[in-house]
Amino acid sequence: MTSTRFLDPAVLARIGNLELLARTVVDGFINGLHHSPYFGLSVDFAEHRPYMPGDDVRRIDWRVYGRTDRFYVKEFEADTNANFVVVLDISGSMDYGSGRITKLDYARFLAASLTYFSRQQRDRVGVVTFTDRIVDFVPASAKHLDIVLHTLDRVAAGGSGSLEEPILKITEALTRRSIVLLLSDLYAEPDVVQRSVGLLRARGHDVIVFHVLDPTELTFPFDEAAPFVDLETGERMPVVPETLRDEYRTQMTDHLAALGERMLHSQVDYQLFETSKPLDYALFEYLARRERMSRVR
């Protein structure tokens, strides 16, 4: 894998069709994966495993028993067809970008790519967008790929955001165990994030949190004194960046560390994405890590 294969988000942003974009990203990624030493995703791989006491005897694969004289339990393919639900934060803060794309764009690309990828695994796909309320809700279905991609394509950021209340409603709406991909900039206290994610975990959902941030939010490279406007609340605040930069970075670092710690504690896959990073590279990094984590588990 060479860096030239990485897909620049800014380049991808020029692709108007989100499906085409997702295919571009995922196809390239899968092709790359076939050459990778890492082996697939647990969610889409059927396997045989030795029978363990307590397993349903109906799951014993008798044909394997006939050849090997040992009991193996067969994981049915139907069990790997999970629901894949994208929960996308479209609050005003997501409409920020120092480069060519905003955080919402980046999150949209990620969501589309993973949705397309999941659909390739024959998972059912859905999407939920929220600000401080549920904006769009597309239930997970094997036939909803187009709707999901269309929904992702037309979302527009705006309004103040909130995490706990919308996720509570999402939790109530998702009746089947799902793989929930939360895409947000997580401007909330780590405890609130943990509590919100905890609601999903409590229902047995496999929760993945993609923390999408602009590089500017991490480094705070502003130079000139200026009034800063909160994109969600419209609040104005005079800021002398050079005097605040260090403390801002400290706050942000602490925030990210706290989130990472809370997510780990909640057994949630947490990944920070900078919008300047290539999409396929970011995905690869995440999936590789998830593979390693799954082996540990």
Binding site: S98, I101, G158, E224, A226, V229, L231, Q251
Partner: protein, 702 residues
């Protein structure tokens, strides 16, 4: 390398460098708000007073400040002085002028030796690029060579240099030095002033500033408290017995307290008499030596005092010649009475400057031989001779003799022979009687005429009390110059030039009959001055002052009576002059028979083909005896240049060719290129820095 600016005032604009500094100090607050996802973390930062006057982006500031400064420097038109970078254009080296004082006062103590040593040291210290000129000066200044870097030539000049007897004048020397330095193309200029700073040679208002950039160097020659006594003059007087009385002037221009000195009269190489005199500080006295018999030949003499201070003025040299009378011939009317001529005879007999030898003869008895060896003829109330005698008299005047015609009762119209008309013009007319009133008076007397210069400056020369009862009317010829008129406008005295000689006509007689002039005090000098003028009397001085230019033909060879060149032989074409130092040189028509006498002592002049030898005594300029020195700083400050470097630069630029000027000012071009490069760097740097200032590109908002 010297760097200056053609427009230095523009450098004031360098203050503009404060602009980028202020810009970097001032944290400009953007007017438009910056959208940001969340102020969550910013709100947590506690508020505190922020000191904002802090320089940001040092590198950018340095680049911007450099741009401003270089831009200002470029517009100020940097100008390369000749040294350093400009050397390729204008060259290196110094123009050195060594002003070496060789006046008589430099002989005081060891001044001359020290000045000469300093001059040699200066020559030895010359670099190969340097060019030096040695200017020897006293009363006048001479550049001994063209500016040269040949030290052998300069050393040879110094080897030949010696102090003279002439005075000191700084003006011409400084003027010459300035001209030499001004004409030099070399970038550095130096004036080495080797003098004793004699006060008498310096004019207080002299403003002879050297060209800009000239450094002035002097040598301290002060020998402490100066002390000098000098013999500065003699007065020679010969009585009728032929005895010579010498009175010497001894002065003490400088010195403290009283001093006693012995003065010795030396005649013909033998000491005649020694007298001791007392002198106070800044005092003078006269020493009268006893009269001594005067030999019948010209002798050398000197008054010598004991050595004191300056050696050159310890002796005053002179020449003394036997008393010589001036031969005059008075022609009178055969019927004239002796008492009529009494006043005139007495007036000419009194006095010894010169002593006149007056011979009397009736005009009818005069022969051409009587006119030979005469300095002048007085035609006293007698008709102009006719025939051969008249032509002889005419020739006498025409050859340079003097003729005074005094009209009287016997010189009517009939007494004017035809020969007289060529000399005196028309015959006299009738007499004019002014006895009816109080008599006539002289209304005009030309005191500017050389004959009356002495009278004009004398209070006793008053003709206002003189009454003229009768005079003869006479119309002078066109060529005549009327020197005096009566109050009715009639000519009283007129001068007529006849060939090489002079003639004057006086229309009012010289006896106490027609006027009371012979009774007036002014009569005696009036007559003597007229006669002295007519015979062109120029007494040979007993001594001359160093620096005098002697015209040998006019001052020595030609006597006022007798044919020219008689002293050296009529056919002499070349004369040989032997200076006191023993140096001999020839003078001839090519040099105009002129000799500048710069040494003190006796000059001897003789013709190459024989004839007598003439001795000329030359003494130092008496002003040199006053060796009081001026504060060197006074002169140095007066001659040191005051111009600024820019003026010097402008002067240098003015001497350069246009191509050179452009080349030497091309530095601005390089500065502008540097500015352009810095501006490009600044643009890139600023862009890079501002690139870190993130501004949301898209903020759709809700």
């Amino acid at each position: 390398m010297g760097l200056t600016f053609l427009a230095p005032l523009l450098l004031v604009a360098s203050a503009a460098v404060a602009i980028p500094i202020l810009l970097h100090l001032t944290h400009r607050e953007r007017s438009e708000a910056i959208p940001f996802p969340s102020l969550m973390f910013l709100r947590r930062v506690p508020y505190r007073t922020v000191r904002r006057q802090r320089i940001r982006h040092w590198l950018l500031l340095v680049v911007r400040a450099a741009i401003v400064l270089l831009l200002v420097a470029a517009f100020a038109r940097p100008f390369v002085e000749r040294a350093g970078l400009g050397a390729a254009v204008v060259g290196e080296g110094r123009a050195v002028v060594i002003l070496l004082d060789r006046s008589a006062s430099m002989g005081y103590g060891d001044r001359w030796a020290r000045a000469l040593a300093e001059a040699r040291a200066t020559v030895d210290a010359l670099d190969p690029e340097d060019q030096a000129t040695i200017v020897l000066f006293s009363e006048r200044a001479d550049a001994t060579t063209q500016p040269t870097g040949d030290r052998a030539v300069l050393a040879a000049v110094l080897d030949d240099a010696r102090p003279l007897a002439t005075g000191t004048r700084y003006g011409p020397a400084l003027q010459l030095a300035r001209d030499i330095l001004d004409a030099s193309d070399l970038p550095h200029r130096e004036l080495v002033l080797l003098t004793d700073f004699q006060r008498v040679g310096w004019e207080a208002d002299a403003q002879l500033r050297m060209p800009d950039g000239t450094t002035v160097r002097t040598l301290e020659l002060d020998n402490g408290q100066p002390e000098n006594i000098a013999a500065t003059g003699v007065l020679l007087n010969q009585d009728e017995q032929g005895r010579l009385a010498v009175a010497a002037r001894i002065t003490r221009p400088v010195g403290a307290g009283a001093a006693e000195v012995a003065a010795t009269l030396i005649l013909g190489g033998s000491a005649v008499e020694t007298r001791r005199v007392q002198l106070q500080s800044a005092g003078a006295t006269t020493v009268d030596f006893a009269p001594v018999p005067m030999p019948d030949r010209s002798i050398r003499g000197e008054v010598r005092i004991e050595s004191s201070g300056l050696a050159a003025d310890d002796a005053y040299r002179f020449t003394a010649a036997p008393r010589e009378t001036v031969p005059l011939l008075l022609l009178y009317h055969p019927n004239g009475r002796a008492d009529e001529r009494l006043y005139l005879q007495q007036a000419l007999a009194i006095g010894d400057d010169p002593p006149f030898q007056l011979d009397l003869k009736p005009v009818t008895m005069v022969t051409p031989d009587d006119l030979r060896e005469r300095a002048g003829v007085i035609l006293y109330d007698a008709p102009f001779p006719s025939g051969q005698r008249g032509r002889a008299l005419h020739d006498f005047v025409d050859a340079g003799g003097g003729l005074l015609v005094i009209l009287g009762a016997r010189t009517g119209a009939g007494a004017w022979a035809a020969e007289a008309e060529g000399v005196l013009g028309d015959a006299p007319g009738p007499t004019v009687d002014r006895a009816g009133a109080r008599g006539g008076a002289l209304s005009i007397l030309d005191y500017r005429h050389p004959a009356f210069l002495t009278l004009g400056s004398s209070r006793g020369a008053d003709f206002s009390g003189t009454r003229f009862l009768r005079y003869r009317r006479w119309s002078p010829p066109e060529s005549a110059r009327v020197l005096a008129r009566f109050d009715d406008g009639a000519p009283a005295l007129a001068e007529i030039s006849v060939g090489a000689g002079r003639a004057m006509v006086w229309t009012a007689g010289a006896a106490n009959l027609w006027s009371d002039l012979p009774l007036q005090p002014v009569f005696l000098p009036f007559v003597r001055e007229i006669v002295r003028y007519l015979i062109v009397y120029r007494p040979a001085p007993t001594a001359r002052e160093a620096g005098t230019v002697l015209d040998l033909r006019a001052d020595l060879a030609a006597r006022t009576w007798g044919p020219p060149s008689s002293a050296f032989g009529a056919a002499s074409e070349q004369l040989v002059v032997e200076a006191p130092s023993g140096e001999r040189f020839a003078v001839d028509d090519g040099t105009g028979y002129r000799v500048e006498m710069l040494e003190h002592g006796y000059y001897q002049v003789r013709a190459t083909d024989g004839g007598q030898t003439v001795t000329v005594a030359v003494n130092p300029d008496p002003a040199e005896s006053n060796i009081e020195a001026l504060d060197p700083e006074v002169m140095v400050s007066a001659v040191s240049p005051t111009g600024a470097a820019a003026t010097r630069a402008a002067a240098l630029a003015a001497q350069l060719s246009p191509a050179d000027k452009e080349r030497r000012q091309a530095l601005w071009w390089y500065l502008m290129v540097t500015v352009a490069a810095l501006a490009l760097a600044e643009s890139m740097l600023a862009g890079r820095l501002s690139g870190g200032i993130v501004v949301p590109q898209r903020n759709r908002g809700s």
